[in-house]
C-alpha cells in the first residue's frame, strides 16, 4: 500500500487541471496539456483502481462461495424446506421459533460451549508454553518445530478412528491403563463430562501444534535486545515470558484465540465419529450444534430448520468472537505494554 500511495501523489499534483490559486489555465497551453492530461488521468485511474482489481478475485470468490451460501441459507431458513422434497411455503420466522423451543437445541448449545471451553482454553495455553519452549536454543530445532505440526497433517476422520479405539468404554486403551493403575474404568461414551474430555482431547491433539507454530512465528519477531535488558535487570526466564513475550505477541494471541473459538464452536467431525448412531450418544450428551444441524437436515430431513440453526450458530459465533476480542484486548493492556514489536532488526533467527 505504501508504495502505491507514494506513486500516486506526484501524478495527482501535476495532473490537477485547476491551479491551486484557482486561476483557469491559459488558453494557448490547453492543446499542449490535453494529451498528457488524458494519459495522466488514465494512469491516475490505473493507480487508484488497479489495487482493487488485483484484490478483487478474492472478494468475487468470497461473494460466490461465502456470501451466496450465507444469503441462500437465510432464504431457506424462512421457508418450509424438505431435504428431498425441496422448497415449500414461506413461513417467516417459524423455523427459528421451532428451533428455539426444541430442548435438543439448548442441549446442543450447552455441549458445544462445554467442549469449546475444554478444548480452546487448554489449547491456547499449551500452545503458548510450547511455543515459548521452542523459541529457546534447542538442539535439532527444526525437527522439534516440525514434529509439533505432525498431528495436524492427519485427517480428522483418522484421528477419530484412532481415538475411538483409545476411548473405548470396555476395550479401549485408555481404560486398560486406568484399570491397570487400579482405578475404576471411565465410561467415555456414556458420562457427559468424560465424553466431552475425550472429544476435546482429539481436538487439542490436532490443533495445539498448529497454534504453537503461529505463536512461535510471532515470538521470533520480538527484538532480542528487549530480553537482554530484561535479563540485565534481573528478570528470570519465567518473568521474561510473562512480562515480555506474551504481551508483545498479543495481536497474534488474539488471532489464535478467535480462530480457535470459531473452530471450537463449529466442531463436528470428532463428536460425529465418536458415535455410531451419529446423534452424540444415547442421551445426546455430546451432540454439538453442528451435529444438531446435521440431524435436522439429514435425519429429520428438514432443511428449513437446519438453516435456522446455521444462522443462529453464525450469530453465536459473532458474539463469542466479539467477547473474546474485548477480553483479550483488556488482558493485554493490563500488562501495561502498548508497544508493538519494533523493527525486525533485533530478530536474529
Amino acid at each position: 500500500m505504501e508504495a502505491g500511495s507514494t506513486a500516486v501523489k506526484p501524478v495527482g499534483d501535476t495532473g490537477a487541471s485547476v491551479s491551486p490559486t484557482g486561476d483557469r489555465p491559459r488558453q494557448p497551453r490547453r492543446d499542449v496539456v490535453r494529451r498528457p492530461a488524458w494519459r495522466q488521468r488514465l494512469s491516475m485511474l490505473d493507480a487508484k483502481v488497479s489495487p482493487y482489481v488485483f484484490v478483487s478475485p478474492f472478494f468475487v470468490l468470497f461473494l460466490v462461495v461465502g456470501m451466496f451460501p450465507l444469503g441462500y441459507t437465510a432464504w431457506v431458513s424462512v421457508h418450509q424446506w424438505g431435504l428431498l422434497s425441496g422448497q415449500g411455503d414461506f413461513t417467516g420466522l417459524e423455523n427459528y421459533r421451532r428451533v428455539l423451543e426444541d430442548r435438543y437445541f439448548w442441549n446442543a448449545l450447552r455441549n458445544t460451549i462445554s467442549i469449546f471451553l475444554l478444548s480452546s482454553i487448554p489449547q491456547v495455553v499449551i500452545a503458548l508454553v510450547l511455543a515459548g519452549l521452542l523459541d529457546t536454543q534447542l538442539r535439532a530445532r527444526t525437527l522439534w518445530r516440525m514434529s509439533v505440526l505432525l498431528p495436524f497433517v492427519v485427517a480428522p476422520a483418522a484421528v477419530a478412528l484412532i481415538f475411538g479405539n483409545v476411548f473405548g468404554d470396555r476395550y479401549g486403551l485408555a481404560n486398560e491403563v486406568i484399570t491397570w493403575i487400579g482405578l475404576e474404568p471411565i465410561r467415555w461414551h456414556v458420562d457427559t463430562l468424560a465424553s466431552h474430555l475425550a472429544i476435546a482431547s482429539m481436538v487439542n491433539w490436532r490443533w495445539t501444534g498448529y497454534n504453537a507454530l503461529i505463536l512461535l512465528a510471532a515470538m521470533q519477531a520480538i527484538p532480542r535486545d528487549v530480553y537482554e535488558s530484561a535479563a540485565l535487570d534481573g528478570a528470570g526466564r519465567v518473568r521474561q515470558f510473562t512480562s515480555i513475550t506474551v504481551p508483545m505477541i498479543r495481536p497474534t494471541v488474539i488471532f489464535v484465540v478467535i480462530t480457535s473459538t470459531i473452530g471450537g464452536l463449529q466442531i463436528f467431525a470428532e463428536p460425529r465419529l465418536f458415535d455410531t448412531q451419529g446423534l452424540g450418544g444415547s442421551d445426546r450428551q455430546y451432540q454439538t450444534l453442528t451435529m444438531y444441524l446435521w440431524e435436522l437436515g439429514w435425519r429429520v430431513r428438514d432443511l428449513g430448520m437446519a438453516s435456522a440453526v446455521a444462522w443462529l450458530l453464525f450469530l453465536i459465533i459473532i458474539v463469542f468472537a466479539l467477547v473474546n476480542l474485548l477480553v483479550s484486548r483488556r488482558a493485554g493492556s493490563l500488562k501495561g505494554v502498548h508497544r508493538r514489536p519494533g523493527s525486525p532488526k533485533g530478530a536474529r533467527r
Binding site: 428431498l84 480428522p156 476422520a157 476395550y171 466442531i267 444415547s282 435425519r299
Partner: protein, 411 residues
C-alpha cells in the same frame, strides 16, 4: 480451523468423473454398504464386458451409506450409477420415486418373491428397485461357550431350545448363571430390533399414521429388553460400535439374532475365533431383518448400462454366488430352489448347511413388517431409549417417557 461441515466429506466418495475412464470405456459405480458379496461378481462382469468398467464403493455401515445417499439425492448429483437401498428407509425414498429410474422389464417379471417386488412398485406401477437379498433370521451361537455352560452344542438340539422368546431368554438366564463373565446376546438394541421386525404394524399403521406411542406391542418389546439387561443377559453395547466389534474377539456374548447378511459380518469381526454355529430356529416363529434393493438414480449419466448391470447382479445365479461369499440370502424365487443354494455349507459356522437353514427360516417368515416413511427415525429414537437404560443414564420408565417425547418431536 476448517472444522466445518465440509468434513462430512469423510462419508462421501470421489467426485463425478463424467462416467468414462481414460481409455474411453463407460465407467459404472455401484454403491453398497456392509457386505453385499459383490467383489468377485464385479470382476466377472468386467471380464465379460469390453466397453464397461464397474467399480464398487463400499460404506462401512448402512447409516453412513444413507447419509451419503440423502445428501447427493438432495444435491441432484454425485450419486453412483447404482445405489443399494436398505428396506428400513425404503419407504422414505419411495416418496421421492421420481429420482429413480423405472426398472420394469418383462425379463425380470416373477424373478422375486411377490412381497419383495410389491414393496418396490410405486402406485403408478413403476418398479424402482431390483431386490437383492432378504434377511431371514436364525440364531447364531458359540458352541464352545455353550459347552462351558453345560448346554447342548449340537445345532439340532439347540434349535429345540429356542422355540419362543421366553424359552430363549430363560436359556439365557441359565447361561449367565453358569458363565457370569459372558452375556447371552450381543446387544439389547439388536434383540429389540429382531422383535420389532416380528410386529406387523409397529411404529406406523397401514396409513402410515404414527402409532408407536400407544402400541402395546412396542411397549412390551421395550419392557422385555430393558428388564433383561438388568438380569445381565445383554452386553449393554451398541450394535456397530467399536466395543461391539471388539466383543466378538473377547468372548463378549454367546448368541445373536442372525439374518443371512450377518454371517459375513460375524465372520469378519470374529476372525480367528472358533466355535460359531447357526441353529435352524428363530424365537417366535420366523423373522425378516433387512434386505436390500439396487436402484438406478435418474441423475446418472449411464442409466441404460446401469440397468443392465443391476439386472445381471440381481439375477438368481449371481445372487447365489453373493450368498456363498457373504451370506446375503436371495430374494429371487429360482434361487431358493437351486441346489447350489440349498446344498451350500459354511466352513466358518462349523460346516453348517447355511443354505438350507436360511431357506427354512425364510419359509417360516409369516409376514413382512410394515415400515413407513418415519420407521427409521422412530427406530433410532427407540434404540437410543433402550441404550439409555443399558448405560444406566435413565430408568426404564424415564427412558420410555423420553422416547414418547422424541416420537412427538418427529411428528
Amino acid at each position: 480451523m476448517a472444522l466445518t461441515l465440509a468434513t462430512t466429506a469423510a462419508a462421501c466418495g470421489g467426485g463425478d468423473d463424467g462416467g468414462t475412464t481414460a481409455d474411453g470405456k463407460t465407467k459404472l459405480t455401484v454403491a453398497t454398504f456392509n457386505e453385499f458379496g459383490y467383489e468377485e461378481l464385479i470382476e466377472e462382469y468386467n471380464a465379460m464386458q469390453d466397453d464397461v468398467v464397474v467399480e464398487q464403493k463400499k460404506a462401512g455401515t448402512a447409516n453412513e451409506h444413507q447419509d451419503n445417499l440423502y445428501t447427493k439425492l438432495a444435491a441432484g448429483s454425485g450419486l453412483s450409477d447404482i445405489e443399494a437401498i436398505e428396506v428400513d428407509w425404503w419407504a422414505a425414498l419411495m416418496e421421492q420415486s421420481d429420482a429413480f429410474t423405472d426398472l420394469s422389464d418383462p425379463e425380470v417379471e416373477g424373478r422375486w418373491l411377490d412381497w419383495k417386488t410389491e414393496a418396490a412398485t410405486t402406485p403408478d406401477g413403476a418398479l424402482i428397485g431390483y431386490g437383492t437379498d432378504i434377511g431371514p433370521e436364525g440364531i447364531c451361537y458359540r458352541a464352545d461357550l455353550f459347552e462351558k455352560a453345560g448346554m447342548p452344542t449340537d445345532r439340532e438340539k439347540v434349535a429345540e431350545m429356542f422355540g419362543t422368546w421366553d424359552e430363549y431368554f430363560e436359556a439365557g438366564r441359565q447361561f449367565v448363571k453358569k458363565v457370569p463373565d459372558v452375556a447371552w446376546y450381543d446387544s439389547s438394541g439388536a434383540t429389540a430390533q429382531a422383535m420389532i421386525n416380528q410386529v406387523e404394524y409397529s411404529f406406523e399403521d397401514e396409513d402410515n399414521t404414527v402409532i408407536a406411542a400407544d402400541n402395546p406391542e412396542v411397549k412390551e418389546v421395550f419392557d422385555t429388553v430393558t428388564s433383561l439387561s438388568e438380569e445381565g443377559l445383554s452386553t449393554n453395547l451398541v450394535q456397530w460400535s467399536e466395543d461391539w466389534t471388539a466383543s466378538f474377539q473377547d468372548d463378549g456374548f454367546a448368541t445373536m439374532a442372525c439374518p443371512g447378511w450377518m454371517l459375513g459380518v460375524i465372520e469378519g469381526n470374529a476372525d480367528g475365533v472358533e466355535g460359531w454355529d447357526i441353529a435352524n430356529v428363530f424365537p417366535g416363529g420366523g423373522g425378516n431383518w433387512g434386505g436390500s434393493y439396487l436402484t438406478v438414480p435418474a441423475q446418472g449419466d449411464n442409466v441404460e448400462e446401469a440397468k443392465e448391470l443391476a439386472k445381471w447382479l440381481t439375477a438368481p445365479e449371481q445372487q447365489i454366488k453373493a450368498f456363498e461369499a457373504k451370506g446375503t440370502f436371495p430374494s429371487q424365487v429360482d434361487a431358493l430352489e437351486d441346489p447350489a443354494l440349498t446344498e451350500s455349507t459354511n466352513e466358518f459356522f462349523n460346516g453348517a448347511p447355511t443354505g438350507q437353514i436360511l431357506a427354512d427360516r425364510a419359509e417360516a417368515v409369516p409376514f413382512i413388517a410394515h415400515k413407513g416413511p418415519k420407521f427409521a427415525d422412530i427406530n433410532t429414537a427407540f434404540q437410543q431409549a433402550i441404550q439409555r437404560v443399558d448405560e444406566g443414564k435413565e430408568s426404564a420408565d424415564e427412558a420410555w417417557d423420553s422416547f414418547l417425547a422424541d416420537v412427538e418431536r418427529l411428528g
